[in-house]
Subunit: 337 residues, 4 copies
């Protein structure tokens, strides 16, 4: 790291900082400029607490040179991670589409939607049994009954399952049913929950927090990876900005940024980003052309009766049409669907 | 609520929406404008799922008229809530200052800091035993050992305690030690945790999420209130914006906004907002003049050795000086310190 | 519009608001709810000042029903506008690519770049003669000498020209040289400049302000349209958010939103959005698949010597490669390049 | 500055960067770390274009060490600038209040408001003759007729004047009437306008752009200062964030940040920040306690009839009350009003 000393730093202050760095195990390397002095500190000390250096008299600020994550970055692994979910590969040449309703409401409509997304070409079935809702008065999910319905749909269709967990106490239960454990945007920095899912080998779909930087998102992945679970799939789902024309602002550039910084696969959730089904078609095509490894899309056989997020769900017929339109886009960028 | 129909909505579509609203128990009231029709829907249905109305053909958008929260707002309670923590009243005429280090590191330094903040006039002692840290490699807190140190400091000083809980599994333990349970910014929408602390009568310090709207914050309070715990203290601690000169941007206007919308007390955390001790003095005075009911300030007897957030901690001497400067400001706005 | 009265509004206050609305020419339509009263005000009064209604005693807030823009929206024109620049059509089936350096530096390198972007398939040549720079010490452009170099490059290549104007005093001069007048992001709300370019019939490329909402952007277009110039091309170039991994956050969903709200064509500027050439390829493909009508891309024959924005410029060889990769993407969404 | 080379940079790439820096006149100083090499480049080259270094092969990024502004910072001037407007001093011990309506509408109401703000203790009279309005259909100001009314009010009351200029072509005219020239938020990066007002010696009130960083704001001040006009007053007026409870989010921490980075005075505009008069009282007190050198407040004798921004204007009676409440707050922080 680089320590920038302020213009008025005294010789003694500079020496004190050098000494403190040496005590921490760094080799120091001062550069005396015309106006300011900076001190290069050599050594990988990401595990050390170096906060206090920035409070020493004469220090203006500290510039880290190393990324704060190790396992999520490319230093130790250059090749892309391919997460295997049964026979489905996420992060390879194939673009993988996950689809299904926001919340599971009952066996009948869930099975109906499951069959339809399967026919249209989805490989993974989504559905929420535990729902984090802004209002305490909103539908909170069927909990284990919902998981059982999901398992029945897997049985019926052969689709793999992805569903969210919202409480450390439920991880074991959810893991026993699902094929991919989802960590929702609101829990991206629920570090206890991240550690808990890190103790399994089940693939984890890690949604980006609604105001998380890409670096914080990769640090959240690091929590999971550092517990021993290498199967992390990142999911961009829109960030919070001042613009209100869409529910969130999809950060499409997160796709090439993640591809540059990390080996982990990244998929996109156009439904939650847009907040309305109207823009899902355009954003899905855009995501694949930009380089996403997959999509997770809300589909509901009757969105007007959905207990959750109806407005952003596609009708199965619109989803089928979308899948047809996605195929040539995937092909145009050298991938399959 | 008001349903705005699109310019091209047909007569049949308008009738269908009216029928759907009637089926939900609303009385409807259409207004036919020159260009568009809007439908007024009378009835308080905050517990109902009306999402799907917005997906009906011809509907442009829905405008809610009622606030989504009930208990946190002023509809049912007009007088300010005063949260009683032993003999300390939060939300009354007195401005209450909470102070202490970010994380508890050991008995000795914690007791030393506790004595000093007590002497300077703080009424509540803060300290973190469970620390949510961005990096898995950073110090995560002493856990129950930390709580024991806090209890010893209460014994020694008579100060009340505030400390954070980060996992539903720890709520009972934390509640058995502390006087105020803190919900941190990252957990503001950890709804399971909110429900859990709602089941106790212990006061809860609810920090605003780093990108939470004031409405979402009040909805988080609603989760706690609706479980039966009326003792919620709101804490503004800076929001995420594009500006990087401070760690977060303190939203000072949240103080009068909360005073208008809610009966709950609101305090301010200038240390986390600024990210550096340098601005804590100015922001603390500003907060009190703006109308805050209290402050929570990081103080550490040797911030250069702190295992967490050293740069934003005040030295006890600077805290003492701040307390002296705060008194006339409190007086200037008709309060005591 | 809808006037929402507060819960405590008196009968007299409600009547006063109704009277004020009637005086302004509205027909009023009160809806008495269980808790609040709302008043529907019928009539298109976008040109009237109705601000003061919101300050009347008992008024909680006002909900506009009509969009504030008329000419930029679809009320009066449903078919897409196709802006004709010589024989180039922007907004039709063909995706139009504009390319060239950020600033014009000298005849030789500009001509070299112009020839290369022409060969690769660009239709419009960009270049800055007047540069709005954050620092007063940075290169401010060659001014009229730059425009002359651009004219020579048009002569040599047959490409059409697009260049920025930054001062009302220069509009006539710039319009006499260029084929498309560019209004930069920093001037999107320089209303005098908008009015000035509205007095010409030259096509205007209107960049979105760095923190402008889509509604404000369409209102800026309205300024130009309302002066009589119908040839407006919108250009999304990234918005300011908290994320720092890219210079700005490209708002890809602006493409379908604009297609829904307006008849004006929209192109994308991936170079300014990303701030680095590395992400231009991915974002360009994504933009076309999402539905953009064109792209404007920085290309410089030696970006390492560029006086402005070198890091985000593509080498001509990389631009040529990009154009080859874009063709199948355009085809996959039913367009040509 | 510091050049961070990527992990894979070759020896040759590092040497090439060193050579390029030497050619630009820097002395170089490489630090070879365990993983990466960084190169310190010594020399103050803020006027040089060093952009292209960041595009050289093997370069990961560049970290500037010097602030980009010179005249606006404290390197050359440590003592606070006191801007003298006749006998009013801005930036000294006295807190200076500017007040008046948003737009000038007619002689009678303007004079009435002017008299009242004078009696309440304001020292400077505000008023808009040229109004930048989001909608082309909104009132655009009385232009020179408005300036004449302002001059008459100065004559009548002895108050100094502050008014906005929005076009380079009007600077001379506006400067001939007003005592302080205002640059509005939308024009903070209208660099031609900044240069134009920099050519006068009239004090300039430079509002912060709605999404401007503090660094960009100081760079805008630098434009004015570098043309030779040292009389710049900064004005914080709220920034754009995701929060919609207030029109903008007042960045109160900008006050201590500017006090640390710059010698220029800073005042606050609570009216535009809040967008409603309801929060002006609380924010005004907060601003002064935080350390602002003054306030600019909208006051209108009948805000319900105002042609512009009525909802955020105080009635003269409320303004008078506010001035009474401000005095003890100013005193509490060692200042006068």
């Amino acid at each position: 790291m680089i320590i920038v000393m302020s213009q008025n730093a005294t010789k003694e202050q500079i020496e004190n900082v050098e000494k403190a760095l040496t005590d921490l195990g760094f080799k120091t390397h001062p550069i005396v400029g015309d106006v300011k002095t900076v001190i290069g500190a050599i050594g990988d000390k990401r595990h050390l607490n170096t906060n206090y250096i920035s409070t020493m008299p004469g220090v203006e600020n500290i510039v880290p040179i190393m990324k704060p994550y190790k396992l999520a970055g490319k230093e130790l692994q250059k090749n892309p991670t391919i997460v295997q979910v049964g026979d489905v590969k996420i992060g390879g040449t194939e673009v993988v589409v996950m689809a299904g309703p926001c919340a599971i409401e009952n066996m009948e409509t869930y099975l109906e939607t499951a069959e339809k997304v399967k026919q249209a070409g989805a490989k993974i079935l989504r559905g929420g049994a535990f729902k984090p809702r802004t209002s305490p008065y909103a539908f909170q999910g069927l909990e284990e009954d919902g998981l059982k319905i999901m398992a029945a749909a897997r049985e019926a269709t052969g689709l793999k399952l992805v569903t969210e967990v919202v409480d450390t106490r439920d991880v074991e239960l959810v893991a026993s049913y699902t094929d991919i454990i989802q960590i929702g945007a609101r829990n991206m920095q629920n570090f206890r929950l991240l550690k808990e899912v890190g103790m399994y080998q089940k693939p984890v779909l890690l949604k980006r927090g609604v105001a998380a930087t890409i670096e914080e998102w990769l640090m959240a992945a690091e929590y999971i990876l550092s517990e021993g679970n290498p199967n992390v799939i990142l999911c961009e789902r829109g960030i919070r900005t001042y613009e209100t024309a869409t529910r969130n602002t999809i950060d499409m550039s997160a796709i090439p940024v993640i591809k540059e910084l990390s080996h982990l696969p990244i998929i996109l959730d156009p439904s939650h980003a847009a907040g309305t089904w109207k823009y899902v078609n355009a954003l899905s095509k855009g995501a694949i052309a930009t380089g996403a490894d997959g999509l997770i899309i809300e589909v509901h056989s009757s969105p007007d009766a959905a207990l959750c997020d109806g407005p952003q769900s596609l009708l199965p017929s619109k989803f089928e049409q979308l899948m047809k339109e996605l195929a040539p886009v995937a092909e145009a960028v050298g991938r399959t669907l």
